[in-house]
C-alpha cells in the first residue's frame, strides 16, 4: 500500500453562507493520477485550493505529508494577454522564492528551466511573449512553471478547458508521462476522456465520492459519452 500524502477528514467549506463542500473524506496516495470531476460551482477548484492551503476548511481537518512540495497549474484565463513576459520568464517564475533578490538567476536554475522546456516541447518559443501563445502552448508553459521546482504533487485546474480536443490528448499523455515521477490531482469537466488516463476519479457536487477507475466499466464510459450527467449521478450517487 503506497504512502498517503493528502487526507481530508469530514471537511466542509463555506463561502459566507454558501456551503460549497460538505463532509468530504478523501485520500490521495503517492503515485496517484487523480481526476476530480463535477459540475461548475460544485467545489472542484475549492478542493485544490484547500490542498494548497489557499483556503482553510470551515469544519474537519486536512493532513498533508510533512513538507509536501506542490506545483500548481491554475486556470489560465485570469492571466493578462498583454503582460510583457517571455515564455522562459514565466517558467523561471516557478523557481521564485522569498529570497529571490536582484534580477539574476543561477546557472543551475537556467539549465533546469531549459531542460523542462525541452521536455514539454516549448523550448523553441522561449523568447515569445506568453500572451501570444496558443491555448495548448500556454498550458504547457504553465505546467512547465509548476514542475520546474520538481514537486511531489502536481495540481491542475481544468488543464484542457481552453484547448482543441486534438491537443487535449497530447496534454493528457504528457501528464501520464509526468505521473511516473509525481502524484497528480487534476480538476476536469470531462470524465469520459480522463478515465483512459487516470487511476482515481472523485466526483464532487458539494459532497464527494471517489472510485478507482478500474471499478468503472467500459460500457459505463461509453454511456457517459452519450449522457454524462446521468452516468455521474448513477456512479457517484450525488
Amino acid at each position: 500500500m503506497s504512502e498517503e500524502i493528502v487526507k481530508f477528514e469530514h471537511v466542509s467549506f463555506s463561502y459566507g453562507r454558501n456551503e460549497v463542500l460538505k463532509d468530504v473524506d478523501m485520500s490521495i496516495k503517492k503515485g496517484d493520477f487523480f481526476a476530480i470531476i463535477g459540475p461548475n460551482g460544485g467545489g472542484k477548484t475549492t478542493i485544490l485550493r484547500l490542498i494548497l492551503g489557499l483556503e482553510r476548511p470551515s469544519k474537519g481537518s486536512i493532513y498533508t505529508k510533512g513538507a509536501l512540495k506542490t506545483g500548481y497549474v491554475p486556470q489560465f484565463s485570469h492571466h493578462d494577454r498583454q503582460f510583457p513576459l517571455q515564455v522562459m520568464d514565466v517558467v523561471l517564475q516557478g523557481l521564485i522564492a522569498p529570497d529571490s533578490f536582484f534580477p539574476f538567476y543561477k546557472k543551475e536554475q537556467i539549465d533546469r528551466t531549459m531542460t523542462v522546456m525541452e521536455k514539454l516541447g516549448i523550448e523553441k518559443r522561449a523568447h515569445d511573449r506568453f500572451g501570444e501563445l496558443s491555448g495548448g502552448l500556454k498550458q504547457r508553459t504553465l505546467i512547465a512553471r509548476a514542475i520546474v521546482s520538481e514537486p511531489e504533487l502536481l495540481l491542475l485546474d481544468e488543464p484542457v478547458a481552453s484547448v482543441d480536443s486534438s491537443i487535449e490528448k497530447d496534454i493528457y499523455e504528457m501528464l501520464v508521462e509526468l505521473n511516473k515521477s509525481m502524484t497528480i490531482v487534476m480538476v476536469s469537466h470531462d470524465l469520459g476522456f480522463v478515465s483512459d488516463y487516470v487511476n482515481m476519479v472523485g466526483c464532487v457536487n458539494r459532497t464527494f465520492v471517489s472510485h478507482h477507475t478500474h471499478d468503472i466499466s467500459h460500457s459505463d464510459i461509453d454511456a457517459m459519452y452519450k449522457s454524462k450527467g446521468v452516468m455521474i449521478n448513477h456512479k457517484c450517487g450525488i
Binding site: L52, L54, T70, Y72, P74, H79, D80, Q82, F83, P84, L85, Q86, D89, V90, Q93, G94, L95, I96, A97, P98, S100, F101, F102, P103, R129, R145, S149
Partner: protein, 274 residues
C-alpha cells in the same frame, strides 16, 4: 534666444533638465509596473491625495516636500492593505482617498496664515523653480526607486503576473505589493516637482504604455519609458519656453500626442521593434 542657447546660459533651465532626467528614471521604472498591474487609478489616488500632506505640512510649518513624502508612503501602505483585505470596495475607497486628500490639502492651505501659498505650483508643477537642494532630494528619491526596483525585480514581476502562484512559492505577496506601491509613491513625489500632482498620472501611464507597444520585456519597457519621459520633458520644456506656456501642461500634452502616434504606428506596422 532659442531654447538650447538659453539652456547654456541659464542655470534654472539646467536644473529643470536635470530634474527631468531624474523624473524620467523614476517614472520609467514605476510607470512600467503601473502599466502591467493596471493600477493607474491607484497611482492617481496616491498622487492627488498627497496634496493633503502638502497642505498639512505647510499649515504646520514643515517642508511641503516632507509632507508629500510621508503622505505618499502612508497611502501606499493603506492601499496595499485594502487591496488584499477589501477588494470589493477597493475603487470606492481609492476614490474617497483621492478626493478627501485633495480637499484636506485645499482647506489646510486656505487656513495657513501669512502669505498665500501658491497652490498651483503643487498641482501643476514648478520645474522652472527647482533649486539645487530640490535636485539633491530628487536624486536621492530617484536612486531609491532604482535600488528598490533592482532588488525586488523578480518578486515584483512574479507578484504582478500571478500573485497567488508567487504566494504559493512562499513570496510574501502583500508585503511585496506594498513595497511596489511605496516605490510608486516615491516617484509621485519626484514628479510633483516636474509636472505637478494633477499631471503625475500622465507620466505614470503614457511613456510605459507607448513603450509596451514596441517591447516585450519589463526591463526593455522600463528603459524605453525612461528615454521617452526624458524626451517628452525636454520637448515640452522647449515648447513652453518658446511660446511662453505653462511647462507641466506642455510636457503632458507632448506625452499624450506621442502616445496616440505610437498606438497608430503600432497598429499599422505591427510590432516594429521586436
Amino acid at each position: 534666444m532659442n531654447f538650447f542657447n538659453a539652456l547654456m546660459s541659464y542655470s534654472f533651465l539646467q536644473y529643470a533638465v536635470t530634474a527631468s532626467l531624474l523624473a524620467a528614471v523614476s517614472c520609467g521604472i514605476s510607470g512600467t509596473y503601473v502599466y502591467i498591474n493596471r493600477i493607474t487609478f491607484i497611482a492617481g489616488g496616491i498622487a492627488h491625495a498627497v496634496l493633503g500632506g502638502v497642505g498639512a505640512a505647510v499649515y504646520l510649518g514643515f517642508s511641503p516636500f516632507t509632507g508629500a513624502l510621508v503622505t505618499a508612503l502612508a497611502f501606499a501602505v493603506i492601499l496595499g492593505i485594502i487591496k488584499f483585505k477589501a477588494s470589493a470596495h477597493e475603487d470606492t475607497i481609492i476614490g474617497a482617498l483621492w478626493a478627501c486628500g485633495m480637499s484636506a490639502g485645499i482647506i489646510f492651505i486656505y487656513l495657513t496664515p501669512g502669505y498665500a501659498v501658491n497652490l498651483n505650483s503643487y498641482l501643476f508643477g514648478n520645474i522652472l523653480l527647482v533649486s539645487k537642494d530640490d535636485l539633491t532630494m530628487l536624486a536621492i528619491l530617484a536612486s531609491a526607486v532604482l535600488v528598490i526596483s533592482a532588488v525586488f525585480h523578480r518578486q515584483f514581476a512574479a507578484v504582478s503576473f500571478d500573485e497567488e502562484f508567487a504566494r504559493l512559492r512562499g513570496v510574501k505577496s502583500q508585503i511585496i505589493y506594498i513595497i511596489l506601491l511605496a516605490m510608486i509613491a516615491l516617484t509621485v513625489v519626484v514628479l510633483m516637482k516636474v509636472v505637478g500632482l494633477i499631471l503625475v498620472i500622465a507620466f505614470l501611464s503614457l511613456p510605459s504604455a507607448a513603450s509596451a507597444v514596441f517591447f516585450r520585456k519589463i526591463s526593455s519597457i522600463s528603459a524605453f519609458s525612461m528615454l521617452l519621459s526624458f524626451i517628452f520633458s525636454i520637448a515640452g520644456l522647449a515648447f513652453s519656453y518658446k511660446y511662453d506656456l505653462p511647462t507641466g501642461a506642455s510636457i503632458t500634452l507632448v506625452a499624450g500626442a506621442f502616445y496616440i502616434i505610437s498606438i497608430i504606428a503600432g497598429r499599422y506596422h505591427g510590432k516594429i521593434l521586436k
